[in-house]
Amino acid sequence: MKQPQPFFILTLIFILGIFLASLFRLAFIIFFIFCAFFLALGLLLKKQTPYSNWAFCLLVLFLGGAFFANAQIQSKAHISKYIYYQNTNLYWLKGVIDNPPEDKTSSRELVVRCEEIQTGTRKSNCRGKIKVLLKPNSNQDFAYGDEIMASGYLRPVYSRSQNYKHYLKIQDIAGTFYLESSSWITKLSDHKGNPVKMLALRWKNKTQGAIREYAASLSAGVVEAMLLGEKKNIPRHIYEAMMQSGTVHILVVSGFNVGIVAFVVHIFLKLVRIKRKVRILLSMPILVMYCLMTGASTPVVRATIMGLVFLCAYLVKREPDIYHSCALAALFILSTNPNQLFDIGFQLSFVSVLSIVFLYPKLRSLIRIETIPIKPLRFMVEGLLVSLSAWIGTAGIIFYYFKTFSPITPLANLLIVPLATLITLCGTALVFFAFTFAVLAPSFAATTDLLVMILVKLSLFLVKLPGACLKFS
């Protein structure tokens, strides 16, 4: 096994700095002073000594702390200053829609990036994000990048789930805005969002349209979840069955999907005889656009950055290092938002990858997989070992947050992951042919429907096995 590189260790130290800062909650200025001190020490100690290496480690540790402490500070104009219980003031809010609208059972939700707020005759500039609630079947059509004006009341987020409140805090959503009247929200202008993200969302809508046109409703829902991260059309009982069997990760866009998309793009470009360097250079922006199309969740950002690092390594003809690419992805995500360290998605995403990378070679040498003579059996055992490695690494986190333990997970993953791979490939082919040779799309849609039916039946069967999922209060 390759030894972890220094950059990986320094990233772990940076993460430790964030964690310690969350425990001790010191002022930002203290971390800044320590960082400056160890930076000066690092510059002065030119010779490589144990002391200089310690200075570097402590510099990175306090840098992590400084980033975390800074992330907790809100600007004077932050919207949270107007949010408190029993606030009966009427506000006018002007802002830009920051995410595509989400339809829930009781409301339609917009996440708005605030720009101005007015109460009475006082108008102030404003920052931060707020969740605006509309009626569920509101006929007003809002999209990402629309500048809106609304009148209503500000309230803290109300939820019985502490995990959900924690999640909103990580996303920097300060509170909820209830409209004064259901019709008192108006669009002032559009196209105020990031143009690249707007293009990605347009592609996403077209892709969704193509999937729904050809696939049956259940398989369209599953394919949309696997390819685009849209889970709202998956029936609740199927989602819960997959959660209990530990296979719900296939319904979440993650590195698995990014890898398949990168593979498909690469193969397609190779088929049309594009040169190697051009192929790699073209694959990179396509990966980034796919990341934006799927909502840029933490697992997808992690996989995209790791994918870009690997592509860059191939471009300059150097061997890619998985620990370095993982460390770079973690640093990128945590430097933009250190609170992500406490997000379940971040923890599961990185722990699963690292546990596979670390444990799989050890398990492989432990059971001496090379001695298995039958190749298909050897392939199955390898798959089981990968699943087992990820399961061992993530079992503790899943138990801590969800109080469940699924012994069926390694077996379920062995059966379901290859099926999910086929569904993702068929779904990608369906989308491709829907836009190019539409006459072939129904064939791929029919295959996708069959595979999804097998997936659903298998999931429901596995979760009914005795001891499949153990729940603890």
């Binding site: 570097f56 500070i73 006018w92 430097s335």
Partner: protein, 109 residues
């Protein structure tokens, strides 16, 4: 603990310096940015401009339905623009009562 080459040390020092400057500047911007507050005699921010609003925007005003919104736009096209809010009384369907109801939501610019 870790062995760093001379080049690695230089890169880490440079990146740490840039990161420290960046987070320091961000801290200063957050803590010293001024809260710009202006006093508006009326809630100008919130009002809809009768001379530029499209049909969808007009429909969001309580009291204006589809027919009235179309009539407002037709009047605006015919007369180029509104000079006064009270001109709405010239449009069929706009009574004094309706005008006083929607006056607080509209403006002329």
């Amino acid at each position: 603990m870790i062995d760093l080459t001379q080049e690695e040390r230089k890169v880490i020092l440079f990146l740490s310096m840039v990161a420290l400057c960046g987070v320091g500047i961000n801290f200063l911007v957050k803590t010293h940015a001024s809260l710009k507050t202006v006093l508006c005699p009326t809630q100008e921010t919130a009002k809809i401009n009768l001379n530029t609003a499209d049909e969808t925007t007009l429909l969001s005003v309580p009291g204006i339905g589809e027919k009235l919104a179309k009539r407002i736009i037709a009047y605006r096209v015919e007369n180029i623009h509104f000079l006064l809010i009270d001109e709405l009384k010239n449009i069929p369907g706009f009574s004094q009562k309706k005008l006083s109801q929607i006056k607080k939501y509209v403006t002329i610019e």
